[in-house]
Symmetry: C2
Subunit: 336 residues, 2 copies
DNA sequence: TTGTAGGCGTTATCAT
DNA sequence: ATGATAACGCCTACAA
């Protein structure tokens, strides 16, 4: 069933059918009614391939999400969706593997869907450095900073990871902790991992706390299991600590279980602070203390910036979004 | 950059370029080398719209996933991916909203990508009843039973939800519990919700346990918050119970927190049993007791069935996959 | 082994 | 207000 069939069926030409389908003007009410009826009756579905092949510019906005089981990104997508819904732009959300090249995927999708702009949820700077020049429409990198990248069509909105991690450690130290370890991300391959590590170190330095990367830091993947294993290693190495800072809530959850399995109570023996502010955290026992990222704000600013770039041809903007240290039940004050 | 440009650039015709691009035979080594080099150098990207518009049949297999923050589906996708990777078929994974029509989406994708077969992860039978006749290629509904649906190109692989829920309740009763409540799904709009409810009731009946839908059942959405709220309502209604069965692990997690907030300990005061067997469950404190679905087996059977339908033109098959009741730390035996 | 040409379903430009 | 027709980029007989 094509628009040709539809044309034959209704007695109109393909052009008129196309006009009706796309809500274009210059169609009589009669034609519109009849054609719409035929569409309904025949269950006609427009061929997106042909449409996109022909169209130079679509009217949609694209979101490329890295990783599918990331609660924070899910929340971000939801928030972005509700914001874009208020505009005239359709939204296309595309999920890709944690470890595939988001930029090349975007290049591909640009050609397929011809979007007006792209929102990247998560991204690897190497991919951007290597391939982003191939993209010419306005883009926003969400949750990672892109101000150091030399592209004037790439904006960014992110939490200041270094600053947030520093504040997190500050807060732990303020609770009286002196022996602290960190279960963090890969400092070499993940910007986020590196920045949060740096914030942690900076805080320790400022407070005269001894922090030895070799023994007090584990750089692993952001998963329950990795958080568990890393913590188990820290314990096995007889590292003494009263507080553990995890660079992601999922690692904090793994860490808490590892502590428990080694006879350590949270927060009585060890305080645990996570990062992200996942909804899950507030349902746990104990409720997870964490660095809460402003998901709503991040979505809002990302969308606003992208739209302004699209509509007003503005240049790239780089923004930072606030965070909140939430002391819930997994951290506690200790005496000296 | 199109294959025409590539042809001009290399001095060959478009047909030869196309042959090289698609690994077709009848191309000289020389031509292949030169053209491949030109592709690399120019960063040529094939136009998927044009390709799919022209092609009658693609060679890919499609997975339509309902919901993006579903840990079990993520695990399923991963397992499916690794299985399909061993075949010659490319895999396309498409994520859609929890509450959008997966069948219509599939219809759309059929026309766009012309896949050989489809795997549905999650699905609503109403959508299938209403629209599935539009799909003519082999499909497998994963995690829901489709044996009652009248389509001979729709297979299904699922846990026997009713039986699993019954066994779950049996196990709770075997631990000595007599006063049990259930935090379940919507019995009207969710097959899964209804079946797990029925299994629960059946077990209670068989064991002479009093179970009153009005007061002992809460049908809500599968989320932390809904599990929390439902449990809070049960407690507020002064319903006495020593065990709570949740139709999903996420609801069980919400339930545990609600119990805690009302001064009830798990498992000392109330035993909690979940459903799904999420990885997360074994990192919680207490480790979540649950009905573990065989994700690996489900992926394996789904893929096998789909491939056999595609390659051998077999008819629809409906299979059930085993489950395991895992008594971990959130349930305990009580004395009469 | 290679090239030419027609058509996939749509949109959009011209006429009418 | 409507219709004929030329692209869009690719694949694939069919020819050479």
């Amino acid at each position: 069933m094509t628009i040709k069939d539809l044309a034959k069926k209704t007695g109109y030409g393909v052009a008129t059918v196309s006009r009706v389908l796309n809500n274009h003007p210059n169609v009589s009410e009669k034609a519109r009614k009849e054609i719409l009826e035929a569409v309904r009756e025949s269950g006609f579905q427009i061929n997106a391939n042909a449409k996109h092949l022909k169209q130079q510019h679509a009217t949609s906005i694209l979101v490329v999400v890295k990783g599918t089981s990331n609660e924070m990104f899910s929340a971000l997508v939801e928030s972005i969706q509700s914001r874009i819904a208020k505009t005239k732009y359709p939204l296309i959300v595309d999920y890709i593997d944690e470890d595939s090249n988001e930029v090349m995927r975007a290049v591909q999708l640009c050609q397929e869907k011809k979007p007006l702009g792209i929102l990247f949820l998560g991204g690897n700077s190497e991919h951007f450095i290597k391939d982003f020049y191939k993209i010419e429409i306005p883009c926003v990198l969400v949750s990672n900073d892109a101000s150091k990248l030399p592209f004037d069509n790439l904006s960014s909105v992110a939490t200041d990871d270094r600053q947030a991690a520093k504040c997190a450690m500050d807060s732990i130290i303020a609770l009286g902790h002196r022996k602290v370890v960190m279960v963090g991300g890969d400092r070499e391959n993940s910007d986020t991992g590196r920045l949060r590590y740096e914030g942690c170190v900076q805080s320790c330095n400022e407070h005269g706390i001894d922090f030895d990367v070799e023994h007090d830091y584990e750089g692993v993947r952001f998963s329950y299991q990795d958080g568990y294993d890393a913590t188990a290693r820290l314990i096995a190495a007889k590292r003494e600590f009263t507080a553990l800072f995890a660079a992601a809530d999922v690692m904090a959850i793994g860490a808490i279980r590892a502590l428990k399995d080694n006879g350590l109570r949270v927060p009585e023996d060890v305080s645990v602070l996570g990062f992200d502010g996942l909804a899950l955290g507030s349902f746990l026992v104990p409720k997870l203390s964490t660095v809460e990222q402003s998901v709503g704000k991040m979505a809002e600013r990302s969308v606003d910036i992208l739209l302004s770039c699209i509509e007003k041809n503005g240049g790239a903007q780089h923004e930072t979004v606030p965070f909140v240290i939430r002391q819930r039940e997994s951290t506690r004050r200790i005496s000296g």
